[in-house]
């Protein structure tokens, strides 16, 4: 059974369709990149998987005992977060919310988990630091650690490298790959960077005028001579 099965999805806002006829599966351990032009519905798809939007039609089913709240999410940064007074520790710990239920405070297990993920992402030195004083790459790692507190099964990343310089971008990609290969975390990532997507991902979902879903190595063939693939999807 697949971890996530999307069947005949039609997505959009207020009944206006952006993408239609979308069917794909994500298995445990997959590294899926979602690519496509601006406005093609990548973020909408991600929000629908997260349960923040409801699809116009079609269904998303979680399998393998995955619960709806067991999804780690790395959203794009918002304006509010840039000057938010919070320590790295507080933010990472807030990823444990989904296992809290109605308990008002964090348990010892939650704190241990947060500590482990801080360690894992090399943030131990920054634990007490203020989030808004960190560099872009460090902030992304903090949010990634928070997502890992929510689950180690599946991570949804919305353009995790946007705004980062080339060196930090490469580090970020390596970090994500390590999570995928070493910890077996399933990755679903929205990306503008087709080259990186082809290098790291094992499956590609292209949404837009033409829809493609399949192994990364077949993507170039499928889009050979189809100008929109590379030119159109750049940045």
């Amino acid at each position: 059974m697949a971890l996530l099965t999307c069947q005949d999805l039609s997505l959009g806002y207020d009944g206006k369709e952006i993408v239609g006829d979308l069917s794909f599966e994500v298995n445990a351990g997959d590294y899926l990149c979602i690519v496509g032009e601006n406005g093609s519905g990548k973020s909408t798809l991600m929000k629908t998987i997260l349960g923040l939007n409801s699809p116009i039609s079609g269904s998303i089913t979680a399998g393998d005992g995955l619960k709806q709240t067991e999804i780690g999410y790395l959203p794009q940064q918002t304006e509010v977060q840039r000057d938010f007074p919070a320590s790295v520790w507080e933010i990472v710990l807030s990823g444990c919310q989904n296992r809290q239920g109605m308990r008002p405070f964090y348990s010892r297990a939650d704190k241990t988990l947060a500590d482990e993920n801080i360690e894992k992402l090399g943030l131990s030195q920054l634990k007490k630091r203020c989030y808004r004083e960190l560099s872009g790459g460090q902030q992304q790692r903090v949010l990634l650690a928070r997502a890992l507190c929510a689950t180690s099964k599946i991570l949804l990343l919305d353009e995790p490298v946007s705004g980062l310089d080339p060196k930090v971008t490469a580090e970020m990609y390596e970090l994500i790959e390590r999570l995928n290969k070493e910890s077996g975390t399933t990755i679903i990532m929205i990306s503008h960077d087709i080259d990186a997507a082809l290098r790291y991902a094992d499956k590609i979902l292209h949404i837009g005028k033409k829809i493609f879903f399949g192994p990364a190595r077949e993507y170039t063939e499928a889009f050979d001579g189809f100008g929109a693939a590379k030119g159109g999807a750049d940045i």
Partner: protein, 283 residues
């Protein structure tokens, strides 16, 4: 010297003690949610809602209600819910909606008072409601009781839901993706804000409430770097300023509300200075 001792005597009067108790509690409550409101870009909701409360008071006066608290509370809570709900999908966006309701309620309130009031001192009444000049010194025992009870509820709600409020404030999308009912918590925040504002009307009046909500939060954010320390510090600053403001106004005979706000402004200036020095010395 004699007159100073005389003035110290004021502290033994129950009405001064009531004012101090109520002032401290209101300052505490308003500062707790201030941090969240400032960060969620809702600084002006206090202003908007307080004007709604002013309008509601006018309606209560027209209807000749002796106890206007319940009506004012209900109308303000409903407006708060409407305002925070419209945050996302509304045709009229957040800040515009706040501004609209704020000035609308102010105008209607004044209009109603003008048309129907039987009071001989209309402008005095309006001034009192807007600036809260004397009402805090005329509190009755039951009002103090209500205030203590409501403040206790507000503080308890805040402590119990502190972690959830943090999560919802920092990142609403992530919070709802991990199963927090963000809508419900926004609603909770709205209701609590409305309660605080109705309480604070007595203290600083409806024009100056925003100051009570945002100044301590902004001051604390100059100095501290974690959410918890900012929250604690803003509560401390707010309570200190309220105490100082009330005492100064009792001794110097200045209007209570504006004295408290002036103290908040001084505290903000000091915090900004401390923050700048801290950054400068690289701590």
């Amino acid at each position: 010297m004699n007159s100073f001792a005389e003035k110290l005597d004021y502290l033994s009067y129950p009405f001064v003690q009531y004012a101090l108790i109520v002032g401290v509690l209101i300052a505490l409550c308003s500062s707790l949610l201030g941090v969240t409101l400032v960060l969620k870009r809702f600084s002006f909701i206090g202003d908007g809602l307080s004007h709604v409360a002013f309008g509601a008071m006018a309606i209560a006066a027209v209807l000749n209600l002796t106890d206007d608290m319940p009506l004012v509370l209900i109308i303000t809570v409903i407006s708060a819910i409407l305002l925070l709900r419209t945050g996302k999908n509304a045709k009229i966006k957040g800040d515009a909606a706040v501004a609209m309701i704020s000035v609308g309620a102010l105008a209607i309130g004044y209009l109603l008072m003008n048309l129907f009031s039987k009071s001989s001192n209309l402008s005095g009444d309006v001034c009192t409601t807007l600036f809260g000049s004397t009402s805090i010194l005329t509190l009755k025992r039951t009002e103090v009781g209500i205030c203590i009870a409501l403040s206790a509820i507000v503080v308890m709600v805040f402590i119990l839901f502190y972690n959830k409020i943090f999560a919802v404030t920092f990142d609403e999308d992530f919070a709802s993706a991990t199963g927090i009912k963000t809508g419900a918590y926004n609603l909770l925040i709205a209701v609590v804000v409305a309660v605080i504002i109705v309480l604070a009307m007595n203290l600083v009046g409806s024009l100056l409430i925003s100051a009570l909500v945002i100044f301590p939060a902004l001051s604390a954010m100059r100095i501290f770097k974690s959410f918890r320390s900012v929250t604690v510090c803003s509560a401390v600053i707010s309570v200190t300023c309220a105490l100082a403001g009330i005492l100064i106004s009792v001794f110097a005979g200045t209007p209570v509300g504006s004295t408290i706000v002036a103290a908040d402004i001084v505290a903000f200036a000091c915090s900004a200075l401390i923050g700048a020095l801290k950054r400068g010395s690289g701590i």
